[in-house]
Symmetry: C2
Subunit: 282 residues, 2 copies
């Protein structure tokens, strides 16, 4: 692992690292914000999963999260959104291939050899963090958030690992990818035509199969009503319906006038970090 | 004038406009943040001048200012850093030409026909704002801030218009451009070899000529001590010396570990907006 950038921010450190990923079979980059409290105590971890076209940098530059993370004493880990490199398969579109890993483990050629973002985010990256930052990060206290494709990722990762994540937050998430155009494009390519495989990465489907909704992590979703993707791609009502059926706790806050941008995310970032912090016992 | 972008942010609106500039003889772009209070009342204006290589967008995306501006009820106007367009003179370097207007009125060829950023910022843009937003912005209450080259701009604009600006803030400003390499490169090209012309755009020189330092706007400067440009280019001690001689109020806050980046700016943006707001009577 190599530190490639660092900036002091709100008394803590915004850093950027590269490392060789076994599961993605390429060099991966992630961002880490360490609050001032990490100098003297192990701090809980919030993962942030970004959306289509993003790298590890968009959130770090635009979300305004460091201020609140510094105050609360929370670290934030922001991975890249896909494998990278010249030998990594790609498509000439923004919603498939590089920048569009959808946080799945691909099973189909030519994607399977690198696109293993689910295992990267849930296993390899946390293990690396434990090895490298074991005295700084308290990896027994984890929560997860994300935006759009990364909101889908946060919901899926959190709902498939309910004993691990204290709470889940998402901004404008793709709540039912197997039912919308983004998913209809990416899921067959990454996972093949068997719809059952898609449902392993569909938060609404995972929620619908839950045997005990009350045991799931609490979920907070922020959704702008002037988001151009809201009607066609995001479908938070589908997750709400599934949550109602199983008795899970999902709050969707619909916001007049807000769109799909980081201006929307920044506007409500503090609320979401405080929500996650509360459930992390901060 | 044309609105080319808008996003709801912290209850207000982050907008972007283009217009034909007479003084710069090209199409110019600026950003405007309107706080929620602007819906019901005229709000004071803070100008933000950006640094080398920036456009109107860097501050808007990275500084995290909208949250505080929304709370305080302040509008923020962020112009571009130079004239733009295919017929605008340029050099193949980051610190001269496009993105590097230095907020001067150029007198030398080939720069003089477009590079009139001092007049643009002090006259044309405020007049446009008064015409277009007269019922929204209270242009009798102005303050100014900026970063690096834009910190220089904020100091010069504020100190040459002491009856207009309630207070001046600057992050990592070039405090004595006639004495440092950035100025030694840009000022002769824009203004010719007459050093007296440079001193019209040198905050330390302007401060040194003040007849009554106590009548100058209060100045707050933030400076990171790990800023790679600090020793060679910025020289806040020169402005402090001049301020001491004339009895002006300049506070320079030197911050351990902070660099020249927007992470530094974001870390102290709230302090600076509260400082400006206090002197704006907010």
């Amino acid at each position: 692992m190599e530190k490639i950038d660092e900036h002091k921010a709100f008394g803590g450190w915004q850093r950027r690292y590269t490392h060789k990923s076994e599961v993605c079979n390429c060099t991966m980059t992630f961002a880490l914000y360490l609050p001032p409290l990490a100098d003297t105590r192990r701090v809980p971890v919030v993962y942030w999963l970004s959306g289509l076209t993003c790298t590890d940098e968009n959130f770090v530059n635009k979300a305004g999260a460091q201020r609140v993370a510094a105050e609360l004493g929370i670290a934030i880990v922001a991975p890249d959104t896909s494998p990278r490199g010249d030998d990594v398969a790609d498509e000439d579109s923004y919603d498939m291939g590089k920048g569009a890993g959808f946080y799945v483990n691909a099973t189909e050629a030519p994607w399977a050899s690198h696109y293993q973002m689910y295992d990267y985010v849930t296993s390899e990256l946390p293990a690396l963090l434990a090895d490298e930052f074991g005295t700084t990060l308290d990896l027994s206290r984890e929560a997860i958030s994300g935006h759009s494709m990364g909101g889908h990722g946060a919901l899926v990762v959190g709902l498939r690992n309910v004993d691990r994540f204290a709470a889940i937050s998402a901004f404008s998430p793709i709540c039912a990818p197997s039912e919308v155009p983004w998913g209809h494009k990416a899921l067959p390519k990454y996972l093949g035509d068997n719809r059952d495989a898609w449902l392993e990465y569909d938060a609404t489907a995972i929620m619908g199969r839950a045997s005990n909704g009350e045991s799931l992590p609490p979920i907070l979703i922020e959704q702008g009503l002037d988001d151009g993707f809201y009607e066609e791609q995001l479908h938070p009502h589908r997750l709400e319906e599934a949550a109602d059926q199983v008795g899970a706790q999902v709050e969707v806050r619909r916001r007049e006038g807000y769109d799909h941008s980081y201006f929307f995310i920044a506007s409500f970032m503090e609320d979401h970090l405080r929500f996650l912090a509360k459930h992390l016992g901060v």
